[in-house]
């Protein structure tokens, strides 16, 4: 049967030719057809990248992705909010009131409006727009798991310091010390250790970010818990 197909039927074999699944006879018939059919040659060139793109989707995952529900909503989305985040709408509203030309304000508005998320979000977003932010990781002495993410945000009045630490001492008072290029030091924050060993805080100092040489977390006794130079 396969050898008696007309050209229309043969054209259509291109799909199964690209995807796979043609019988040996059909494959042979189509390959022969392809040699003299310009339409199929052109289309086949357009489709030639498809298999490697389809391969990006794992065959194991494909059934879950492709079966069942129709449309993009089929993908499960367990963590995301189902309605528009109020922060996003607030940012839009605020910006509309100010006028669309004040574009730079929008990112800042978004950060502020995000409330609790704002502290964690600030370094990433501000990096992209303004103000300039540099990020460093302070680590504990050898063998310690302590890690403190620090963002230094340039402000008109000095530097905003966003800190997020893990595996910190779980008791006692901890201090954040800033040292400038001249070697002068200030404690710019203090807090009590928490049972989880995690602390997130934001503080401020007047020293310009560009002049900050070193940042340390230390105990009341002056023992260094974590340190990083900029």
């Amino acid at each position: 049967m396969s050898t008696h197909q007309n050209d229309d039927e043969l054209h259509h074999l291109l799909g199964a030719f690209v995807l796979g699944g043609l019988s040996g006879d059909e494959h042979r018939d189509f390959t022969r057809h392809l040699r003299h059919c310009e339409t199929c040659q052109q289309e086949s060139a357009q489709f030639s990248g498809l298999p490697s793109l389809l391969d990006l989707v794992d065959a194991e995952d494909a059934p879950a992705i492709l079966t069942g529900v129709t449309g993009a909503a089929e993908f499960s989305d367990p963590v995301g909010p189902s309605s528009t985040p109020p922060a996003l709408l607030d940012a839009v509203r605020a910006q509309r009131l100010r006028g669309r030309w004040r574009l730079v304000a929008a990112a800042a508005v978004l950060v502020v409006a995000a409330g609790g998320v704002g502290v964690a979000l600030a370094p990433a977003i501000s990096r992209l727009d303004e103000p300039p932010t540099s990020r460093i990781v302070a680590r504990g002495p050898a063998g310690s798991a302590t890690s403190v993410d620090i963002a230094l945000v340039t402000r008109g009045w000095g530097t905003q310091v966003d800190l997020s630490g893990s595996d910190l001492p779980t008791s006692g008072v901890l201090y954040l010390e800033v040292t400038d290029l001249q070697g002068r030091s200030w404690d710019v924050a203090s807090w009590s250790g928490t049972p989880s060993g995690r602390t997130t805080l934001t503080t401020a100092c007047w020293v310009k970010a560009a002049n900050i040489k070193m940042i340390q977390v230390h105990t009341r006794e002056g023992q260094t818990v974590a340190a990083a130079t900029t």
Binding site: E9, H11, L14, G15, A16, L19, G20, G21, L22, S23, E43, Q46, F47, G49, L50, P51, L53, L54, L56, V57, A59, A62, P63, I65, L66, T67, T70, G71, A72, A73, E74, F75, D77, V79, G80, S83, T84, P85, L88, L89, A91, V92, R96, R100, A106, A107, L110, A114, A120, L121, A124, R127, L128, S134, R135, I136, V137, R139, A228, T229
Partner: protein
């Protein structure tokens, strides 16, 4: 009168946020920031109000650029810290980690292909699934779906054409 901006943004969010979230989730970006990146991308696109044929493609591209900026910032940070430490720790830095674009672009292509597949007509999609992913023959596919072999072939043809058209629209030229 044009719809209120909030409505426009809410519409964009409803339609595209799940796909953007999925894309970001495939990259090594801090997963607590996924929603922040989604919102930032939508804000940027809303501010730019681009005249584009595919809002979705534009959003994906904007998200990609945000992710690459974030990775570059994080990459610099890793290098800076490493330089302050001894040679042992410096040798642990993976140079590939400083070129995040490869990983992100791959994740983007993957998401766009999934997205394109999900936008196929269901009867086209099940033929792609059977022929390509399950490695069924035309005959096996016909039996599994309860349709004639000729229908499998023509659906495969139109499925491939639609897939190509959707991917072209999304800017996937490969």
């Amino acid at each position: 009168m044009a719809p209120l901006d909030e409505d426009v943004v809410a519409g964009i969010y409803r339609e595209h946020a799940p796909a953007l979230r999925r894309f970001i989730g495939r990259t090594s970006v801090d997963q607590s920031r996924v929603d922040d990146v989604v919102q930032e991308a939508i804000m940027r696109v809303w501010r730019q109000a681009p005249e584009v044929t595919s809002m979705r493609a534009y959003l994906f591209q904007t998200t990609r650029n945000i992710l690459i900026d974030m990775h570059r910032a994080a990459g610099r940070r890793v290098v800076e810290v490493a330089e302050d430490r001894d040679d042992d720790s410096r040798s642990r830095i993976d140079p590939r980690a400083t070129n995040p674009a490869v990983e992100i672009d791959r994740a983007l292509d993957q998401i766009l292909v999934e997205d394109a597949l999900s936008r196929l007509q269901p009867d086209h999609r099940e033929v792609v699934l059977a022929l390509y992913y399950r490695r069924f023959t035309v005959v096996e596919t016909a039996a599994a779906l309860g349709i004639p072999a000729g229908t499998v072939k023509s659906r495969a043809y139109y499925a491939v054409r639609s897939l190509r058209a959707i991917l072209d629209e999304m800017g996937v030229t490969q």
